[in-house]
């Protein structure tokens, strides 16, 4: 059992103190040291929230320092500076890139209390027993390694997990229903000449190429072996189709940051574009209609998790496990689900949400009363229901996961050509 089980608070809680005193020679010394522990976490802005840091201080007693970076910088730091962090909050495709450097250590699943309740997507890859694993870097394909020191991914579930899943979501196109005025059902609409000069795609090559692939496949122009791992010929064809569209003036702009996508949509410069769920929410919160449109070809999904630096040992490592167990115990999950993401252990988050919130965010039911985000801002009025429906409805229609391809460098070069063309 971990020494960290006996946090100062629990020790002060009457009976536990006796047990602690007998189990540990000097519990109060540990209690003091816990306060001195600082874990340095870095990751993308999505889950690096100060609220989480504060809650950790309150509930676990140690300090969690968070740094938010963009995904390229995150990859870079995880790959090159293992001593600069204790916990890496990274996406699964980043894990595929970074894990071989040996800078992260595998986690013992027997120490993860809610391991059994983690959604199947992150274990055997299947949401429900009938599900088919989607293309791309599906989390289960990079979720496990054979042993503690292994740098190669395991094909099956093992006792050693690379990342503990934290949040994930299914992305699709965002649209302005008021400016389009008709139903949009397919990814192919992004290149519809009807939206000439009013479309946009994101300028982050690894994600943008997937959205492109969804479009090309939907319009029947290309049939991919695996959209998440294209051949050079497939990359060439995909980029050629989009270069042609770009030259024809299909795109108003490309966006690289969250804010840019919100502004493009809110100002009406763009009526259809690749988008992220919270960006749609941000547009809506300005009173402008915006829909995160479910499309018949399915979603492009992404997922992130917490990885431990290989330099974590002893007390620090125990604290990190403590933190991860707390992360999965529900409070954070509920916090994130109220922003439209999903928690890896939805079952525990349910206790931290009202039935109305749970119904709206997870079950896809119409809101019984107004839905507010964790900061109190109204996200949906009573009677509205979530775009795309329930958790199973959305995560069950994932066509492809964000990924990193074998031909990544070639793809990046082609992407640069596309931007420069």
């Amino acid at each position: 059992m971990s020494k960290m089980r006996y946090s100062r608070r629990s020790i002060l809680k009457s009976g536990a103190a006796v047990a602690a005193a007998s189990a540990l020679p000097a519990p109060m010394i540990w209690a003091q040291e816990i306060k001195n522990i600082t874990l340095r976490q870095f990751g993308t802005g999505v889950s690096n929230l100060n609220e989480v840091g504060q809650k950790v201080k309150e509930e676990l007693g140690f300090t969690l320092e968070m740094t938010a970076l963009d995904s390229d910088s995150v990859t870079q730091r995880a790959a090159t500076q293992p001593d600069s962090f204790d916990i890496a909050d990274i996406e699964y495709w980043i894990c595929k890139k970074v894990w071989p450097t040996g800078n992260l250590q595998a986690m013992d699943t027997t120490k993860i209390k809610n391991y059994d309740k983690i959604v199947g997507i992150f274990k055997d890859g299947k949401l429900t027993p009938e599900s088919v694993v989607a293309q791309g870097t599906a989390p289960n394909t990079v979720g496990f390694v054979e042993g503690p020191g292994s740098t190669a991914f395991a094909k099956e579930q093992t006792q050693w997990m690379t990342l503990i899943p934290t949040i994930y979501n299914a992305d699709t196109l965002g649209i302005r229903p008021d400016l389009i005025g008709r139903p949009i059902e397919s990814w192919a609409e992004l290149l519809n000449p009807e939206f000439k000069g009013k479309a946009s795609i994101l300028d982050i090559s690894s994600i943008g190429i997937m959205d492109m692939a969804m479009v090309c496949e939907a319009s029947g122009k290309i049939k991919y072996g695996d959209k998440g791992n294209m051949t050079r010929a497939e990359i060439d064809q995909t980029i050629a189709i989009f270069t042609e569209a770009k030259k024809a003036g299909q795109f108003r702009a490309f966006w690289k940051s969250f804010d840019e996508s919100v502004n493009l949509m809110a100002s009406g410069e763009v009526v259809i574009q690749s988008m992220w769920s919270p960006a749609v929410t941000a547009v809506k919160s300005r009173g402008i209609p915006c829909v995160f449109q479910p499309l018949k070809e399915g979603y492009r999904a992404w997922g992130g998790g917490l990885g431990l630096s290989k330099s974590l040992t002893g007390m620090q490592l125990d604290a990190a496990y403590e933190y991860i167990n707390w992360y999965l115990s529900g409070w954070v999950g509920a916090f994130l689900m109220r922003q439209g993401y999903y928690s890896a252990v939805p079952a525990t988050s349910k206790d931290f949400m009202t039935p109305n919130e749970w119904g709206y965010w997870f079950e896809g039911k119409p809101a019984a009363e107004d839905i507010a985000d964790p900061f109190g801002k109204v996200m949906a009025k009573a009677g509205e229901s979530r775009d795309g429906g329930s958790f199973y409805e959305r995560m069950g229609h994932v066509a492809c996961w964000n990924s990193v391809m074998d031909e990544n460098q070639y793809m990046v070069r082609k992407w640069n050509e596309f931007i420069a063309s």
């Binding site: 963009d70 390229d72 990859t75 870079q76 790959a79 090159t80 890139k97 970074v98 450097t101 000069g197 946009s200 300028d203 090559s205 770009k246 795109f251 108003r252 702009a253 490309f254 966006w255 690289k256 502004n263 493009l264 100002s267 009406g268 410069e269 990193v404 990544n408 460098q409 990046v412 070069r413 640069n416 050509e417 931007i419 420069a420 063309s421």
Partner: protein
């Protein structure tokens, strides 16, 4: 005595030399060295390889992007020179009162009280499809539908560049013009020169050092920029700076270094060529 004066000279120059060596020469040397290294997706490997340069110099994208960079630089240079010269001329020769002149000059610098990113971004809502410019044009009946090329186009990129960089032209030209001996203008006028002749035979030749300094500022700023191009073109066009920033984002430091070295060489060549026309130091 001579030795100690020599020593004194060295000592006086030492602090600046140290600063420049540490913060300019050393980093550039590092970039130069790294440009021969190799990189995988997540690490860089010390090596001596010409692959980065080979790829750079054989890729059509490089030429396209350099061409675009030159086009931006040339357009911006022409426009800032035209505006900068006119403004400086007006301030130096038309305004008679010293106080008014200083007030007007300070007016020119007011936009610089905010960050240049903010000044640039503020164009976006102004020029947008539903922005102020289009609303004004439509309500005046000049156009029926919003003008699309105002934003996210080469037009908006050049506009922002000119807005950001004109002061760098005004200041040095104004400065040299203020040193022009007014009796030269009077002498020209007494000898029967027309206004145009005074401008082309007296003022422009004597303002050359200022023009040259402004040119160097503007060229260096425009050719090294990436953020203006990214924001104002809506990421749709690329100059060399964006190529470098993309490489950095993708951890391709060696390739970014190689591009930087080529860019540096090109800019130095241009400035070197310009220096042959005008001796700046003589005029400072």
């Amino acid at each position: 005595m001579a030795v100690s004066r020599n020593l004194q000279g060295w000592l006086l120059a030492a602090p600046l030399t140290a600063v420049l060596a540490g913060f300019l020469v050393l980093p550039i040397l590092t970039i130069f060295i790294v440009s021969f290294w190799q990189a995988t997706e997540f690490s860089i490997i010390p090596a001596f390889s010409l692959e980065n340069y080979q790829f750079l110099l054989t890729s059509p994208v490089t030429y396209q992007v350099f061409f675009k960079t030159f086009v931006y630089a040339a357009l911006v240079w022409g426009l800032t020179l035209g505006i900068g010269f006119t403004v400086a001329y007006y301030l130096a020769f038309h305004i008679r009162s010293e106080a008014t002149r200083m007030v007007l000059f300070l007016l020119c610098t007011i936009p610089f009280l905010t960050s240049n990113i903010i000044r640039m971004i503020s164009w976006i809502p102004f020029l947008g499809r539903n922005g102020l410019a289009n609303q004004a044009l439509m309500s005046l009946g000049i156009v029926d539908a919003p003008v699309e090329w105002l934003l996210y186009s080469d037009f908006s990129v050049v506009l922002a560049f000119v807005h950001l960089n004109t002061l760098f032209m005004i200041t040095p030209i104004f400065n040299t013009m203020m040193r022009i001996d007014r009796s030269l203008v009077e002498a020209a006028r007494d000898n029967g020169a027309s206004g145009r002749q005074i401008l082309t035979h007296v003022i422009i030749p004597l303002s050359k050092p200022g023009i040259m300094i402004g040119t160097i500022f503007v060229l260096a700023l425009v050719m090294g920029d990436f953020i203006t191009v990214r924001f104002m073109s809506g990421s749709q066009s690329a100059n060399v700076g964006r190529l470098i920033s993309n490489d950095i984002a993708l951890l391709q430091y060696p390739s970014a270094s190689a591009t930087s070295i080529v860019l540096l060489a090109v800019v130095l060549l241009i400035i070197g060529a310009l220096m042959r026309f005008v001796n700046i130091r003589k005029e400072l």
